[in-house]
Amino acid sequence: MIEISHLYKSYGKFVVLDDINLSIHKGEITGLLGPNGAGKTTLVSILIGIMPRDKGDIFIDGMDIDKNLQEIQTICSIVPQNLAIYPMLSAYENLEYFGGLQGLKGRKLKARIDYCTEVASLESFLNKRVHKFSGGMKRRLNLAIGLLNNPRILYLDEPTVGVDTQSRNYLLEMIKKINREEGSTIIYTSHYMEEIEQVSDAIAIIDEGRLILNGPKEKILKQDFNLSIRVGELSEALCDRFKRMQAVTVQDGCIRLKRDGRFHDNLIEIFSLLKSHAVDVIDFDSRDNNLEALFLKLTRKSLRDA
């Protein structure tokens, strides 16, 4: 659906995107993950055709972005990071305005507004002015406006910023529903790892303008899978025994197993040793085996401001 090859963009001497090569498949939700200032919004802005690039080729739905920008823009839509809505207008007036500017009118406009408000669960608040909305409702309206033109490609630029957990979960479900029902290809940028993990089919990690990892989510997560077993007090002999095992480490009362060919054998052996030495198993934890761990590892764990 989207083919990006050798894409470069810089502001003066500051390189924002450095040789990006990425394929995004039709109907998939691709999570574009990266720390603040990594270049995610710049990449999306270039793909939507509102920012020029320095170098590189972009094909969207088989169309060259340089030659077919107008057609591309009719099949795409962006939900900006900020609330690109008018607080003094009602939800309906906002939807009508943006729909009207996209050439929708009459019954078609009404039908799209009905669909979008239903997806966003805003039917009861259509005539309420947006400045009276909660943060979550504003986010839902922001997203609903992005659906007005029935986009085949939807760019979501950090769509859940500043909302509570319930609203975030609702938005994520909404995104999955859009993808399921409308078959839209969705590019979802965020620095919230758990969101990307929750909604994405594919993941692309970008840092300092470079694409450092991309591929199907399952494959990416499995390649660095770990299991932690928090146990009671270990004798020194038992500790040494574990440390001698391949792909097993012991630290701070935790035994960590890496997922490799010996994973199952190692797991059985560890449990039988723990049982024979009467060591209690306190907790299992696979959380540090998730995207967050991978992301922090790849981006070298340091905090960097844009």
Binding site: Y11, S45, I48, G49, I50, M51, P52, L69, Q70, Q73, T74, C76, S77, I78, P80, Q81, N82, L83, A84, I85, Y86, M88, L89, E93, E96, Y97, F98, G100, L101, Q102, G103, K105, R129, I145, N149
Partner: protein, 405 residues
């Protein structure tokens, strides 16, 4: 076409629900027109009797001295307060400061002698005029000349007294000859268009002045919405919908032009109907609708371009409100909005041509006051269009640059 409809609808809904913008665009100029029309009524009222208060001490107490004062009183321009003839100059001085008299006139004892009845040339000084330093040179000169002219008439009257038979024989009516010469001079106000008698009033100055001022104040609502749209990503969203920069700017020009038209109609209605209810003069308009429309369009284009330029430069709405407000006040002060240009000194009048508000005001005055037509406002309109075009081009450049960063 449908897009224009939605843009207009959105702008009017946003503006209509913004009480502060409505107050700035409509209530503020109406208040200014009403207040300034009343406050400056006397300054503009050329036919009103504006009397100068003068203290008088007549030490001569003679027929000529009394006739001199009576003749001045008949002019209607002076209000005399008589003091005892033996009042000292020091006491007069104190009275002047105590009761806010700018002038005091002391007719000396030899006034009648100097008037010529007894033909003596001994008296050198006939009267003393005490003047406060705050009095302008023009006022002092006019007053002194008036006194000198009346003194001459008084002298002629007394010289000719006793010559009635000879005057009768010559067919000269002394009474009529000594009457004020005002009725010998007819005042006509000239206009650029067809000759039409029109007396300038405070409302003729206030309505166009505060109208131009209020039209430029679209900078506040326009920049506020524009900056919010830019900062909250609405412009980005619109751009992604294949809406061009030209359309974005046009989407501001058209609705705010309509707002400016509503302002013009409202301010004219206030000048014609509301000001007279408060005791002021009614606004009289010229005959050229075309001229009025041309200068209105030109001022509107320039003011909206200025507002867009401020919006494109400013980073925040607070920033825009400050820049827009301060610039508007400076342009207004310079352009003769706050103080009429004719009361400014020459160098300030020359400087006023730097303000687009001055061009707009001159254009409206051409229509309202001087009965001008399309050709008469062409120069001001062209200046405003050129200035607006320069600002709009700069705005388009800045917006394109900012949105692509």
């Amino acid at each position: 076409m449908i897009k224009i409809f939605y843009i207009l609808k959105k702008e009017f809904l946003v503006m209509g629900r913004d009480v502060h913008s409505l107050a700035v665009l409509f209530i503020m100029p109406v208040a200014f027109i009403l207040i300034m029309s009343m406050a400056m009524r006397d300054l503009f009222e050329t036919h009103a009797v504006m009397q100068i208060k003068i203290l008088v001490v007549d030490r001569d107490k003679s027929d000529p001295s009394q006739a001199f004062v009576e003749a001045l009183e008949k002019l209607g321009s002076f209000s005399f307060h008589h003091m005892e003839d033996n009042t000292s100059l020091d006491l007069i001085r104190r009275k002047m400061f105590q009761d806010d008299y700018k002038f005091a006139l002391v007719l000396e004892k030899g006034f009648s002698a100097a008037a010529g009845r007894d033909g003596s040339n001994q008296v050198e000084r006939q009267m003393i005029l005490l003047v406060k330093p705050s009095v302008t040179r023009q006022t002092y000169t006019i007053l002194k000349n008036t006194f000198a002219a009346n003194l001459a008439k008084t002298r002629i009257a007394f010289l000719l007294k006793g010559q009635e038979e000879m005057l009768d024989f010559a067919g000269i009516d002394l009474e009529k000859m000594m009457q004020p010469a005002d009725n010998l001079i007819e005042t006509r106000y000239v206009s650029k268009g067809r000759q039409k008698f029109k007396v300038p009033t405070s409302v003729q100055q206030s309505v166009p002045a505060w109208l131009v001022f209020s039209m430029f104040f679209v900078v506040i609502p326009l920049s506020n919405t524009f900056i919010a749209e830019r900062n909250y990503g609405t412009l980005m969203r619109l751009q992604s919908m294949n809406i061009s920069t030209g359309f974005l700017l046009g989407g501001k020009l058209l609705p705010f032009f309509i707002v400016n038209l509503i302002q013009v109609v409202l301010m004219i209605l206030v000048g014609v109907f509301v000001v007279p209810l408060l005791g002021g003069d009614a606004l009289t308009m010229g005959d050229s609708f075309g001229g009025l429309l041309l200068i209105t369009t030109a001022v509107s284009f320039c003011s909206i371009s200025f507002a867009l330029l401020v919006a494109s430069i400013a980073k925040t709405t607070e920033h825009a409100t400050t820049i827009g407000g301060v610039f508007n006040i400076i342009l207004a002060a310079l352009g003769g909005i706050m103080i009429p240009k004719f009361v400014m000194p020459d160098f300030m009048q020359t400087l006023s041509v730097l303000s687009p508000m001055s061009w707009g005001l001159d254009g409206f005055l051409d229509i309202f006051l001087r009965n001008g037509n399309v050709l008469d406002v062409m120069k001001e309109s062209l200046l405003l269009f050129c200035c607006g075009l320069m600002m709009l081009s700069t705005t388009a450049f800045i917006i394109k640059r900012k949105l692509s960063l």
